[in-house]
Structures are given as structure tokens and as C-alpha cells.
Amino acid sequence: MTTHNSGNAGPSHKAVETGVTVLITLFGALVIFGSVKAGTGWGSEGPRAGFFPFYIGLCIVGASLINLWNNWREAEGLFAEWQQLRQVLSVLIPTTIYAAAIPFIGLYVASIIFIATFMRWLGKYNWAMVAGVSIGVPVLAYLLFERWFLVPLPKGPIENLIGL
């Protein structure tokens, strides 16, 4: 079944796509459930709030079942190698921490730490280069967004301390 035999293991395409399709089906079921709660019938002002999404939900579930069937017949090969997925996670995990930190320490401080970690850890740059880019970019963002185009960005205690 698998045509891939370079020795590098990883999850099969079929398994991952099955997972994704099942998730979509569940999402469709959730939409149907929510629509039924909102009312799918015909009210005093015409079709009620759940009328349209109800049929959308049905379409999602229907299309997903066909996709599931097609996937089981046709899918082959690997989704990705573990090594590749590790690389994806090495971006995704720091980014998640970064996004979670923004409300607490502000966008500027979070960006400095994020860019610095990324460059030092994945790029193996020397500290001078790391400091230059990681501090330079937020400063540039500050000038561009807050000063010139008047778009406020989230700030935390440290930004407030400096008085930005």
C-alpha cells in the first residue's frame, strides 16, 4: 500500500486525512446541533436563525462522508516524516507561547523574546546579530504602526514602564 520506502517513518496520509475528515464531520454535527437549538423552522419573520446553517451542517456531514470513503479507497503514502513534523512543531510551539504571552507582557517584549529565541535556537546566530534583529524589528514596528499610521498595539507592564 505504501509506495514510500526511504526508511524514514511517519504517520500515513490515510490516517491523518481520516482524522481531519472526522473532525470536519464532527464540526458539521456541531453546526446541525447549534442550528436546531436556534430553531430551523419558519417563524413569524420568515425562516428562523438556524434555518440556513442547518442545511450547511447537513452538507458538511454529507460531503465529509463521501470524502472519507474516497480517502479509504485512494489514499496512500506518508503524510509527512516525523523529522518534518518535529520541524513544524519547533515553529508552532514557540509561536503558541508567544501568542499566549502577548496579553500579559505586551506585544513588543514578547516579540523581542520570540525573535531572539527563534534566531538563537534554530538559526544559531551570534548574540550581536540576535540582539540587533530582535530589538530592531519591534522598534521599527512601533514607529511604523503607532507613530506613522496611528495603530495602537498591545502593551504590558514593561512597555508602560518605559512610557510608550
Partner: protein, 501 residues
């Protein structure tokens, strides 16, 4: 006649010094976006949208549309020099562009690409100038049923014309509709699908979805592939440009054909990517040098680039005149219009003449400015590509976060963007198209409103969608588009049977 007068007034608006500055800034930003992996037309424009909040709407749309032109130009640079399509629509450009660069003819390939881009865009703008006012006048007669029929046609074209399996396209599209339905229902004023989360009261903003799906998702994909740049150097001398220009008129037939394919595919929301492939394929079949295609044939650069740019530009026609965007980037531009309080659609041509014609005039000027900028600055843009990915990636991620935050000044949106990013990565890897998902989020509310109003008028009978000539025609076109691949297959089967019999 009136149109020509309006167009000249538009030029007067677009030629104000501030607008020219904004135009050049937009082009440069756009090319950078087009060159960088992970930033594309749609999410680039979405991220930079907040920058324009403090500008007058006309300047804002000029800047955003110029970012779009710039991104279209930029995609060609990476395809030719590095064999990395910066944008999906420039994949076909790599087929002959990169072999040309390897033979030391990078300058010729780039000149041909940029010039054909310009020709394609110019053709499409002329088409918009002539056709858009007519479509808008026609659209003024539209009732809710006709409006829904237009949406129906738009979404059916996706299913019938895209390369992805039709049921995956349908699933992706319906996810978009479902996401659009979340929150306050505009017709009855009641809440739905929020499941008690107050953050979902206002539903999902498609700009967040665009930044996540295309921006973050693309970074994750790039990371998986592990980028190794084998960068070539590029210089374009005036000599090469003139030499190539002398050669190009020979391919006028290919150009014209690609322009028409591009315009057609751009108006129906199939988009620039299939247009470029289709045009390349047809040029290969029709050309006398067809068998040299893929080995560095200049005609193989001309065909896809012309079509991609014509399609990218033509996508703005339905956006302006009907309020139905022809591509994700056009959808983002439409989102911009709504934020500035402008309702895209036929009324725009009556109520906001200055705005519409200023925009159309800026398309002429922006493309000309773009051509000059890219021809003179290629080495600089190529240098950007040599910045290692471990520096570029965090910068793009920070930019995405800033863009997502500043749409509604909400940190919840940054988290949401990340969720969309993971979703985009998984969907793309498993073959679900993202463009229909995004367009469905944008148009979902309006399509639903039109649908419900029509049904209200007809007391729930679906017959309203076939009640007069106009609406029936649009609906039948939609059905043909929906079943296009089935019809095509049936036709070939019939013909082969006839041939064997």
C-alpha cells in the same frame, strides 16, 4: 462617453502627490510580500489593512490594490530566479522561467514575465473600464433572488472548475459558510452557534482567517520542507530589456489568448492559478515551439504570466460591480471597503463615483509604476530572498500577530489566528482548497440574507430562483458550472464512443 470623462477625473484623483506616494509604497511592499515565502497577496493585504485605517478611503484602496499588483509581480521573481513560486499562480512560470535562468537568460525571462504581467493587467483594466459600469447598471435591477443566484454561480464555479476533488471543495466552502453564520443573526437578531462563548458574539472575522490560513499555514508548510536557497544573481540591463521587448511582439497571439483566458477565469472566481496553468497548457498545444516548452521557451513564460495578471485584475470587476470578489485577495479588498463604510456593489458606481474611478485610474498607473519598479529593482528584491528563513520566519509570524491583533484590537484574535494556521496546514496537506473557505466566510452572511429574503417573498418556494429569465439564466449557468467536470467527462466519453463505432 461619460465613462471616459469619469476616468479622466479618476486620473486627477490618482495623480495627487499623496496618492502617487502611497502607490509606490504599496508596490514596493507588495513585491516584498510576493517575494517572501509565507506572505502572499491575500494575507499580505490583510496584515497591512490596519495601516490604512487612518487614510482617506481612496488613498487606502489605492495602496492596497498596489500591494496586490506588487505581489503579482513579485511572484515572478522567485519563480524565475530560484524555482520557488512565491505565489501559487506563478507555479506555471517556473516551468520555463527557471530553465531560462539556468541558461543564463534570467534577465530575458524576468523582462518577459514583467512585461506580460503588465500586458495582461492592462487588458483586464481596459475590460473593467468598459464593462464594469454596464454590469453595475444591470445589477441595479437585481432583487434578492438574482443576488443569491450570483452568489450561487460564484460558488458553483469553484466546485466545477477547481483542480481539487469536488467534495473537498464543497466541504471547505460549507465550513466557511458555517463559520460566517456564527454569532448574531442579522435578520432575526437572535444568537446562534455561539454555545455561550461571548467572544463568538460577533462571529469569525475573515481577515483573521486569511492571516491564519494563508500566513501561518504557509510558514508551517515551508518549515516542513526545510528551505534551502540556491540563489542565483540577477541583473537586468537596459540592453536586455530592449532586446526582449523587440522579441515579444512575435507572441501577440499567445498574449491575446492568455489575456482572454485570464479575464474569463478572473471574473468567475476560479482565480489566477488555474488561469495560468490553463493558458500555459493551451500555449504549449498551439505553439510551433510546443515541444520546447519546459526547456526554457520564452513563450512559456509569457503565457502563464499574462493570464495570471489578467485574472488577478479581472477579479476586481465582480468585486466592484456586484460585491462578489473573484479571489481571496479581492475578498480582502472588499473587507477593506466595508471597514471604511463603503458598500461594494452597483450603488458604489452612483454614490461613490470619485472612489470607483480613482481606483480604476490607479490600476492603470499602479501597473505602469509596478513595471518600472520591478524592472529597476530586481537585484534588491532578489537579495531579500537570500535572508535565511530562521530570520524571516519569526518576523513574518510577528507581522501576522500584529495584523491579526489590529483588526479589532483583540488578543483573542491572535490565538484564533493560530488555530486557523494549524487548520490551514492540515487542510492544505490533505487537499482541501482554502480559497472557497475564505470567500464563503466573506459572503456567507450576504448569501444567506439574499436566500432568506427570496424565500420570504415566495413563501418558502424554491421556484423563485427560476421565476424570470434573468434569474433562471444565472441559476442555470451556475448549475452548468457545478457539474462542469461531469459534463466534460460525459462529452469525451460520447465522442470516443462515436469514434470507435
Amino acid at each position: 462617453m461619460e465613462e471616459i470623462f469619469n476616468l479622466f477625473q479618476g486620473f486627477a484623483v490618482a495623480l495627487q502627490p499623496f496618492n502617487i506616494m502611497v502607490m509606490l509604497l504599496g508596490i514596493v511592499l507588495g513585491v516584498i510580500i510576493g517575494v517572501l515565502p509565507g506572505l502572499g497577496g491575500a494575507n499580505g493585504v490583510a496584515i497591512l489593512l490596519p495601516l490604512t485605517f487612518s487614510m482617506p478611503p481612496t488613498s487606502a484602496i489605492i495602496m492596497l490594490s498596489c500591494i496586490y499588483w506588487g505581489a503579482l509581480f513579485g511572484g515572478a521573481i522567485t519563480s524565475v530566479l530560484f524555482n520557488i513560486p512565491g505565489e501559487p499562480w506563478s507555479v506555471a512560470t517556473t516551468f520555463d522561467g527557471y530553465p531560462m535562468a539556468q541558461q543564463g537568460k534570467a534577465g530575458e525571462a524576468l523582462t518577459a514575465a514583467f512585461t506580460s504581467s503588465f500586458v495582461g493587467a492592462f487588458f483586464a483594466v481596459v475590460m473593467i473600464t468598459l464593462v464594469a459600469p454596464l454590469v453595475a447598471t444591470l445589477a441595479l435591477k437585481f432583487g434578492p433572488a438574482e443576488k443569491f443566484a450570483v452568489y450561487f454561480l460564484a460558488f458553483c464555479s469553484f466546485v466545477g472548475l477547481s483542480k481539487e476533488p469536488p467534495f473537498k471543495t464543497i466541504a471547505a466552502m460549507m465550513i466557511g459558510f458555517a463559520l460566517a453564520a456564527v454569532g448574531l443573526d442579522s435578520v432575526t437578531g437572535s444568537l446562534r452557534l455561539t454555545f455561550g462563548f461571548t467572544e463568538l458574539l460577533n462571529g469569525f472575522d475573515f481577515l483573521i482567517a486569511v492571516i491564519g490560513l494563508f500566513g501561518i499555514g504557509e510558514i508551517l508548510l515551508t518549515m516542513e520542507e526545510g528551505l534551502a536557497f540556491r540563489g542565483g544573481k540577477a541583473k537586468i540591463s537596459m540592453n536586455v530589456v530592449i532586446q526582449t521587448w523587440k522579441e515579444l511582439p512575435r507572441y501577440w497571439m499567445t498574449s491575446l489568448r492568455s489575456c482572454i483566458i485570464g479575464c474569463w477565469m478572473g471574473i468567475t472566481p476560479a482565480g489566477a492559478t488555474p488561469a495560468s496553468f490553463m493558458s500555459y497548457g493551451i500555449a504549449k498545444r498551439m505553439s510551433r515551439n510546443g515541444k520546447n516548452f519546459g526547456k526554457g521557451e520564452i513563450e512559456g513564460v509569457v503565457a502563464p504570466e499574462t493570464a495570471a495578471h489578467a485574472a488577478g485584475t479581472a477579479a476586481l470587476l465582480p468585486m466592484l460591480s456586484l460585491g462578489v470578489p473573484g479571489s481571496p485577495t479581492a475578498a480582502v479588498l472588499l473587507g477593506g471597503l466595508l471597514i471604511w463604510g463603503l458598500q461594494p456593489g452597483p450603488m458604489l458606481f452612483i454614490e461613490q463615483k470619485d472612489f470607483v474611478w480613482g481606483l480604476i485610474a490607479s490600476m492603470y498607473l499602479g501597473n505602469l509604476a509596478g513595471l518600472i519598479v520591478v524592472l529597476t529593482c530586481v537585484p534588491i528584491f532578489a537579495a531579500i530572498l537570500r535572508i535565511p528563513f530562521s530570520i524571516i520566519a519569526p518576523l513574518i509570524l510577528v507581522l501576522c500577530a500584529i495584523g491579526a491583533y489590529s483588526v479589532h484590537n483583540s488578543t483573542f484574535d491572535v490565538a484564533l489566528m493560530l488555530v486557523f494556521g494549524v487548520l490551514g496546514y492540515l487542510l492544505k496537506k490533505t487537499g482541501y482548497p482554502l480559497a472557497p473557505l475564505v470567500l464563503a466566510i466573506v459572503l456567507g452572511d450576504k448569501a444567506e440574507e439574499a436566500f432568506r429574503q427570496s424565500l420570504l417573498g415566495s413563501q418558502g418556494s424554491l421556484g423563485i430562483f427560476f421565476s424570470n429569465g434573468l434569474v433562471s439564466t444565472i441559476m442555470i449557468l451556475g448549475l452548468i458550472a457545478l457539474f462542469w467536470s461531469v459534463i466534460q467527462e460525459g462529452w469525451t466519453r460520447l465522442r470516443t464512443r462515436a469514434a470507435t463505432a
